[in-house]
C-alpha cells in the first residue's frame, strides 16, 4: 500500500474520533510545549545572567567602604565612609602590579531636564578610565578624555534611555541639560547595553567626578562616598589582587590583625558565575520535568493506540481477509500514531513558542527560540509516536485473521 494512501487512512481514522484524538494529542502538545518553553526560558535566563555579568565589565573588582554597625545592625557595604582619596591614589600608584585601572565612582538618582522634557535617572561621577573598564563606547559624540575626566568641567555623557527621554529623536550632542538644576553640556551618547544588574544600563548619565562632588555633593571631601572599580591586567588575578588590596588598605587604615576590615572587596565575576551555575541547574531541572511530561504524553498515545487496536480488532480482521499483510496493518497503526504525535508536536511547538515569548516579556529577558531544541523536541514527538505506537501496532499485525473477524466489540 502506498504511503500517501496510508496517511490518508490514518488521518481519516483519527478524524473519526475527533475528541479522543484531540485529548490524546494534548499530552504531546503540552509535553513538547513545556520542553520548548522551559529550554527557551532557561536560555533566556542564562543569557540575562551572562549579560549582567558582561555589563559589569569583566575582570573587575568592586571596592567599597565597610559596613556601618550601629547597635549590632549592619548598615551594609559602603554605609561607612572609610575609603579616602589618598587610599585611591595609593592603589593607583602601581604598588600592586596586577592592578591596571582604579576608577572611583559616585552615584545618585536625581532629576535631569532638557528644554523639552525631564527625567529621573542615575548620575555617576567618575574618571575617563571608567569607560575603558566598563568597555563602553559612545555611538554619538565622544566619552570624556583623561583631562576632562579629572577636571570639573560641566560635561555629561548620557545613556540611550536618557537621550530618548530628554531629546526624543533629536541629536543630544552639544545640547544643554540640567542636572540637579546645574547646566551641563552633552558631549556623548553611550552605546546601548540593555538590562543590567541594577535595571536598565542605559538609564545613566556620566559626569566628571570632581564636578559631581562640587555640584551634586557637598563639595570636595576626604572620603569617597561611592565605589571603586579595580580592573586587573590579566584574567585570573582576582584572588591575589584582592589579597594585596586588602593588605594595603588594612595597613593604611592601621587595622590590627584581629580587627575586621573597614572596607569590602567584591568579585562580580564570581557572583555572576555562581548565579549562572544556579540558573543552569534550574534550567536543566525544568527541562527534565518537561521531558517527563512529554514521556507521559507518549504513554497516553500508547494507551490510546492500544485501545484503538482493540476497538478495531474486527476492522483489522476484515482488512486482513481482503488481503492486508501484517506489515500493512502495522504500518497503518504506526502511521496513525505518528500523525497524531506529529500534529501534537506542531501544536506543541506553537504553544512552546508562545509561552517562551510570553515568559521572556514577563520576566524581561531576551526571547530565545531554541531552534535546535524545537527540532529535537519535534523529532522526539515523532519518536514518541513511533516508539509508543510500535507495541500496539505490532499487536495489531500479529492478530489472527479468524479471531479478529469473529471479535465482538
Amino acid at each position: 500500500m502506498n504511503i500517501f494512501t496510508t496517511f490518508k487512512l490514518a488521518v481519516r481514522a483519527l478524524w473519526r474520533n475527533k475528541v479522543r484524538t484531540f485529548l490524546t494529542m494534548l499530552g504531546i502538545v503540552f509535553g513538547i510545549g513545556a520542553v520548548i518553553a522551559m529550554v527557551a526560558s532557561g536560555q533566556g535566563a542564562q543569557a540575562q545572567v551572562k549579560e549582567v555579568f558582561n555589563s559589569l565589565g569583566t575582570n573587575v573588582l568592586i571596592l567599597s567602604g565597610g559596613a556601618q554597625r550601629s547597635f549590632g545592625a549592619s548598615g551594609g557595604a559602603g554605609s561607612r565612609q572609610s575609603l579616602t582619596w589618598d587610599d585611591i591614589a595609593a592603589l593607583q600608584s602601581g604598588e600592586i602590579p596586577t592592578i591596571k585601572y582604579v576608577v572611583p565612582t559616585m552615584s545618585t538618582r536625581t532629576q535631569v531636564a532638557s528644554e523639552e522634557s525631564n527625567w529621573q535617572t542615575s548620575v555617576t561621577g567618575t574618571i575617563s578610565t571608567w569607560f575603558t573598564v566598563r568597555n563602553w563606547e559612545a555611538t554619538q559624540g565622544a566619552v570624556f578624555d583623561e583631562d576632562t575626566g579629572n577636571s570639573s568641567a560641566k560635561v555629561a555623557v548620557i545613556g540611550q534611555t536618557v537621550a530618548t527621554q530628554l531629546f526624543a529623536s533629536a541629536s543630544p550632542i552639544g545640547q544643554a541639560i540640567r542636572i540637579n538644576g546645574q547646566p551641563f553640556e552633552v558631549i556623548g551618547v553611550l552605546a546601548v547595553k540593555g538590562q543590567g544588574p541594577r535595571g536598565d544600563n542605559d538609564d545613566i548619565i556620566i559626569i566628571p567626578i570632581k564636578t559631581y562632588q562640587q555640584k551634586l555633593d557637598k563639595g570636595l571631601a576626604k572620603y569617597l562616598k561611592g565605589e571603586v572599580l579595580i580592573s586587573m591586567v590579566e584574567d585570573g588575578q582576582a584572588e591575589t589582587t584582592m589579597a594585596k588590596v586588602s593588605a594595603l588598605l588594612r595597613d593604611r587604615h592601621k587595622l590590627d590583625a584581629n580587627d575586621e576590615d573597614d572596607f569590602r572587596i567584591r568579585n562580580p565575576a564570581e557572583f555572576a558565575k555562581a548565579q549562572q551555575d544556579s540558573t543552569e541547574r534550574i534550567a536543566t531541572l525544568l527541562a527534565l520535568v518537561a521531558a517527563v511530561s512529554l514521556l507521559i504524553g507518549g504513554i497516553g498515545v500508547m494507551n490510546i493506540m492500544r485501545v484503538s487496536v482493540i476497538e478495531r480488532t474486527r476492522e483489522i480482521g476484515i482488512r486482513m481477509a481482503v488481503g492486508a499483510k501484517p506489515i500493512d496493518v502495522m504500518t497503518q497503526f504506526l502511521v496513525e500514531s505518528l500523525v497524531l504525535a506529529a500534529i501534537g508536536g506542531l501544536l506543541g511547538l506553537a504553544l512552546g513558542y508562545g509561552a517562551a515569548q510570553y515568559m521572556a516579556s514577563y520576566f524581561g529577558w531576551k526571547f530565545f527560540f531554541p531552534a535546535a531544541t524545537a527540532g529535537i523536541a519535534f523529532a522526539v514527538a515523532g519518536g514518541v509516536g513511533v516508539g509508543f505506537g510500535l507495541y500496539p501496532a505490532i499487536r495489531a499485525a500479529q492478530l489472527d485473521p479468524i479471531t479478529a473477524l469473529r471479535y465482538e466489540s
Binding site: 480482521g317 486482513m320 479468524i402
Partner: protein
C-alpha cells in the same frame, strides 16, 4: 493440463481448547475445478467453517496439503497468505463485515489499496463493481444507511473488485429475508455464469440448492459429495415477486369490495 483450482489432500485441523484437543477436520480430500459452484453443508460443529477458513487461507491446516492453482499454500508465510487472499479470493460473510462509518465506495476500494492500485484506478474499478451489483448511485452511503441486502451487495462488490477467481460466501443470506436472499443468490449465481468459482458455506438446504455440487460434512469428514442441477435464483425471485404481486392485488380487490 492445468492443475485444479483447489486441491486439498488429507487436510486435518486440530485446536487446543483448554486441556482438550478438538479435531475440527480429520483428513479431508477435496478438489474443486474452476467455474463450479459448490455448497459446503453441515451442522454447527461439523467442521464446515474450519474448512472454509483453510480454503480461504485465513487459517492453515495442521496436516495435509493444500494447493491453489497448483501453489502449495501450506508453506506460505502470513504475508504470502494475505497476498493469495487479496488476489485469489473474495469473501462474503454472513454479517457483511463492512467497515462502519465508511462509504460503500471506500469499502469496495479497500482491497485494491492492498494490491497497490492507484487512487484513480481504485475509484474506477470500485464504481464498476458497485454498478455490477446494482448499487450505482449509492456509493456515498455508509453501511448504516443501507438495508441488509444492500450491505451484502456492497460486500459482494468488495469481493469482486480484485477480480479474484474464487468467491467464498459464509452463510451469505443468513441475515437476510427470503426475497433479499433470492436477490443476493441471484447475483452470486450470475458470477458463476461469468466463470467465477463460488464456494458457499451454509446449513440451509434451500441455499445449497443453488449450487451445482453439494458437499456435506459431519464430525470433520466429508460424508456426501453429490452433483445436482442448481435452482435458478433469478427465476425463483421472479416467481416469488409475481406471487407477492398477485397477493397484493387480491388484497386490494377485497379492500375495494368492502369499500363499495
Amino acid at each position: 493440463m492445468a492443475p485444479p483450482l483447489i486441491e486439498m489432500q488429507d487436510i486435518s485441523r486440530t485446536y487446543v481448547m483448554g486441556d482438550n484437543l478438538v479435531h475440527a477436520l480429520r483428513g479431508v480430500d477435496l478438489t474443486i475445478e474452476t467455474g463450479s459452484s459448490v455448497a459446503i453443508m453441515g451442522t454447527s460443529g461439523s467442521g464446515k467453517s474450519t474448512l472454509m477458513n483453510i480454503m480461504g487461507c485465513l487459517d492453515q491446516p495442521t496436516r495435509g496439503s493444500y494447493r491453489i492453482n497448483g501453489k502449495n499454500v501450506g508453506v506460505m508465510s502470513k504475508s504470502q497468505l494475505a497476498d493469495i487472499r487479496g488476489r485469489m479470493i473474495g469473501f462474503v460473510f454472513q454479517s457483511f463485515n463492512l467497515l462502519s462509518r465508511t462509504s460503500a465506495l471506500e469499502n469496495v476500494e479497500m482491497p485494491l489499496m492492498y494490491q497497490g492500485v492507484s487512487g484513480g484506478k481504485r475509484h474506477e474499478r470500485a464504481m464498476a463493481a458497485l454498478e455490477a451489483v446494482g448499487l450505482k448511485g449509492r456509493e456515498d452511503h455508509h453501511p448504516s444507511q443501507l438495508s441488509g441486502g444492500q450491505q451484502q451487495r456492497v460486500a459482494i462488490a468488495r469481493a469482486l473488485v480484485c477480480e479474484a477467481p474464487i468467491i467464498m460466501a459464509d452463510e451469505p443470506t443468513g441475515a437476510l429475508d427470503t426475497k433479499t436472499s433470492f436477490e443476493v443468490m441471484g447475483i452470486l449465481q450470475g458470477l458463476v455464469a461469468q466463470g467465477k468459482t463460488l464456494i458457499i458455506v451454509t446449513h440451509e438446504a434451500d441455499i445449497a440448492g443453488y449450487a451445482s455440487r453439494v458437499i456435506t460434512l459431519r464430525d470433520g469428514l466429508i460424508i456426501e459429495d453429490k452433483a445436482q442441477a442448481p435452482v435458478d435464483a433469478a427465476k425463483e425471485l421472479a416467481r416469488v415477486t409475481a406471487e407477492k404481486e398477485a397477493a397484493d392485488r387480491a388484497l386490494a380487490a377485497r379492500k375495494g369490495e368492502r369499500a363499495s
